[in-house]
Amino acid sequence: MGILENLIKKVSGGGKKIVLPESADNRILQAAVLLKEKNIAEPVLVGVPEEIEKTLTNSELGCAGIEIIDINDPSLLDEFAKLYQQQRPNVSEKIAHRLVRRPLIFAGMMVASGKVDAMVAGAANTTADVIQAAALTIGYQKNISSSSSFFIMEMPDGKIFFYADCAVNIQPTSEVLADIAIATATSYRKLMNQEPLVAFLSFSSKGSASHPDVDKVVNAVEIAKQKDPYTAYDGEFQADTALSEAVAKKKLKDPSRVAGRANVLIFPDLDAGNIAYKITQYLAGARAYGPILQGFAKPVSDLSRGAKPEDIVAVCAITCLLS
């Protein structure tokens, strides 16, 4: 059984509620029906109930008992506007009222208020829109002030690695790089139930080269260790030092729990991360699942605009497991 099947099996039957605000998109409706029918999670659609029901009936999907929340429900709008204003006091309740009428913000408030466990959007909105809504409504996880993304990479031999950040932060500072590592370690722990061994990658292994780009990574390792002392972070490492114990023994003077055994790879920038995941996919024959958003206080993820219903189901399953 592959990683995706394992993750879907793990979340199934748990009754996790996931809100899908892009209910005008037929792929979202198809995914909601699949989630419900296969008992993977409890989908909650947000929109105008008559329109959603009409689309479900016309497309012969059937409602299948899927919960539909009216985006114009006055009591919910009041509740969300009050909560939004409490969370972000610079915004008046009247302004908050305008904001919570937006589907992504409304759905974000459903997560923030605990009515659902997670949110998935992005079939009809940009990644930036999804991140903005999540940052404004849910906020960031403890110790973190930026969002990022990770890929689950499944190698042909079944080994699993998490790669980050391959999709969101173009040129992360040391602080953001540390945030990426902390968030990915958290995601790894939740999905794999194993200890994350987090390697910060570079073209240098523990001082073998000198350059401001190396300093950036070294600083990031220190920040991550300070903020989250109970997780194994180490670096800067070249990829071979991170992945091969034989190379690690040759290249490093001091012992490291992470070197040679890393299961989470943190790339220094988006060039490196994005190129690495695609090369691993195409040259090593790995399967790539993601990008999954992370770093928020509660799980929210994005979809590629070209996502098929089964891709949406997979992202929903993984996102629910992060709650």
Partner: protein, 80 residues
């Protein structure tokens, strides 16, 4: 509404949403670089301008506005 009046109101809104002193806000001030706005706050600024001027703005175009002076220009179009 006169331009000076619109500018005064824009400054009040920006000051409240971004938590900055009104005295440092000029027409040239950039929301992110000069006034310390997080990029995610752009949506709150748009909603706050709509509420303050009782208008509905074209969202994508509104989110492209980067300075206080350009915001005054943009809002003025809706008040003619």
């Amino acid at each position: 509404m006169e331009r000076a009046e619109i500018e005064k109101k824009v400054k009040e809104v920006v000051s409240r949403i971004l938590g900055v002193d009104e005295s440092i806000i000029t027409p040239e001030s950039r929301f992110v670089e000069d006034l310390g706005a997080e990029s995610v706050q752009s949506l709150e600024l748009v909603a706050a301008f709509e509420e303050a001027f009782d208008i509905e703005m074209e969202e994508q175009a509104a989110l492209e506005v980067k300075t206080v002076g350009k915001a005054v220009d943009f809002i003025s179009k809706y008040l003619k």
